[in-house]
Subunit: 302 residues, 2 copies
């Protein structure tokens, strides 16, 4: 199946207790598409500025990502600067420069419009809607968002959610979106907004999937070295939807395996800055860590 993503491609400057990285390749669509590229054909929609180096474009192409939807606009590329403390779960944004993203009007290339799965990465819900309006009958729409949009563009976000099958957010965002402190109740409420599947990303505590009446709990992989959490959520989404796109099977059982593949990609991603770890994985490594997840969570029945 074909998988389309719209999101950011840009430069990140990151400080963690273990080091810093300046102006490295980042962005939600970059992490997502790189992670998903191990499983399926990915089509990218994003915009970069005149300062975006050809090397970065080549990296995406080398992963067989279809970059015909990567627009180049006059001006500077999107930039994000953030810091993480020892509690690596939360990023403290120091600076966001939208640059060319500010006037981004996403055009879905004609060839992309039949994509079966669509991922709306964490961008302005109004842009998310614009992309959806151009699609021909996708089978599965997944979406990410954040407190900034929940607070600032609640109505537009609610419009997007009506059409979305799967929402991926974190605990706090789920509680805020549903205006309900209990996660189980929040999930029920969010389901009434549209998405029948809610995936809650909890960083070092793993992920939680509410899928209709069923719940699934996946741990995060306990790492000896976590270097940089930037892009973990998007790598997770990339592994998750990449696997679903590959199997073309949206059953509960397949969704659960997809959650584990998402967790695998996120766990590799945080082992190094930028895409350094996930740009050159072997598929064997992905399968090995999947098996490791099984070993970590298995217990005998009664």
């Amino acid at each position: 199946m074909s998988l389309l993503v719209v999101g950011s491609v840009g430069f990140d400057t990151v400080e963690t207790p273990f080091g810093t990285a300046e102006e490295v390749l980042g962005g939600s669509a970059t992490y997502f598409s790189t992670a998903a590229s191990y499983f399926t054909e990915v089509r990218l929609i994003a915009v970069v500025g005149e300062d975006f180096p050809e090397d970065h474009v080549n990296l995406l192409s080398s992963r067989n990502i279809d970059i015909r939807g990567l627009a180049r606009a006059k001006g500077k590329t999107f930039r994000w600067k953030g810091r993480y403390g020892y509690e690596l779960n939360e990023a403290h944004t120091l600076e966001t420069q939208l640059n060319v993203f500010e006037s981004f009007d996403p055009i879905v290339p004609e060839d992309y419009r039949d994509s079966k799965i669509v991922f709306l990465a964490n961008i302005d819900p109004e842009l998310q809607i614009k992309v959806l309006r151009q699609m021909k009958n996708p089978e599965l729409i997944a979406c990410d968002t954040m407190n900034y949009w929940i607070e600032g563009k609640y109505d537009a976000l609610k419009m997007v959610l009506k059409e979305v099958n799967i929402l991926l957010i974190n605990d706090g965002e789920a509680r805020e979106l549903a205006r309900e402190p209990n996660l189980v109740k929040a999930a029920q409420k969010i389901s009434s907004f549209g998405p029948k599947t809610l995936i809650i990303k909890r960083g070092e505590y793993g992920a939680l999937m509410f899928n209709g009446n069923s719940m699934f709990l996946a741990p995060a992989y306990p790492l000896e070295t976590v270097f940089d959490p930037t892009g973990a959520g998007d790598s997770f989404a990339g592994g998750f939807l990449g696997y679903l796109s590959n199997t073309n099977n949206f059953s509960e059982s397949s969704m659960r395996q997809a959650i584990i593949f998402g967790s695998v990609m996120a766990s590799y991603n945080v082992e190094d800055f930028s895409l350094n770890r996930i740009r050159g994985l072997e598929y064997r490594e992905i399968e090995e860590r999947f098996t490791e997840f099984k070993r970590l969570t298995f217990f005998e029945d009664l």
Copy 2:
């Protein structure tokens, strides 16, 4: 097998966003022994004052807990007062009155000294040592502690840990004890202090067991109603050690099942104030929730 616990028995006053409970039965040994009583014979060592009602003693006896080690001293019973916010993971202690606990000198009844499993609940490490000195060759020693003792009685605590097989603490305490922010590395360091098994209790995020070279990740049961987290950690320990005592099998596989039984008991405990929920469970309910944990975490192999 026989299971001995030393800890507190007292009165709790608790405020949660869902209500308050005043001067209700609480204490680490109370929660532990009640939870463990569904699995095995429990022997209790604790002290109460003259104001401790016979009804509470009868509740413990009715669970077949051996209370010959429950001393009654002149003065008032131990009291704790705490508050929880919407983030129910952390208790804010408002007041602790040690009362008769202040001069507690635990005497292990002659009949208790051959107990095969010992649980040293979260009390002064000097009292924990006193209990251990009276035991005849226990097969398994488990212990709980907290930041208060890590900071105030580090040396005594290190002495206890030398003899302990299993340490049960939370994330922050593990990091503080090992002086190491990474949990995987912290576990390795704590193992060098004595306990070959480290169980990290993470509240709503479940539990993590480091057992020799093996790791096990267990989720918490996602509840629609969490009323009062007080005693969750001790109920967890009670289910965990109660099950091990019942099976008399300390293999990795058995320990993993025990972690799930601990999680089951903790999940029931937080559904109501005090011991209201776990004082009258049916064993069938415990098994049902164990099976539910299996359903919540299962995914197919590759």
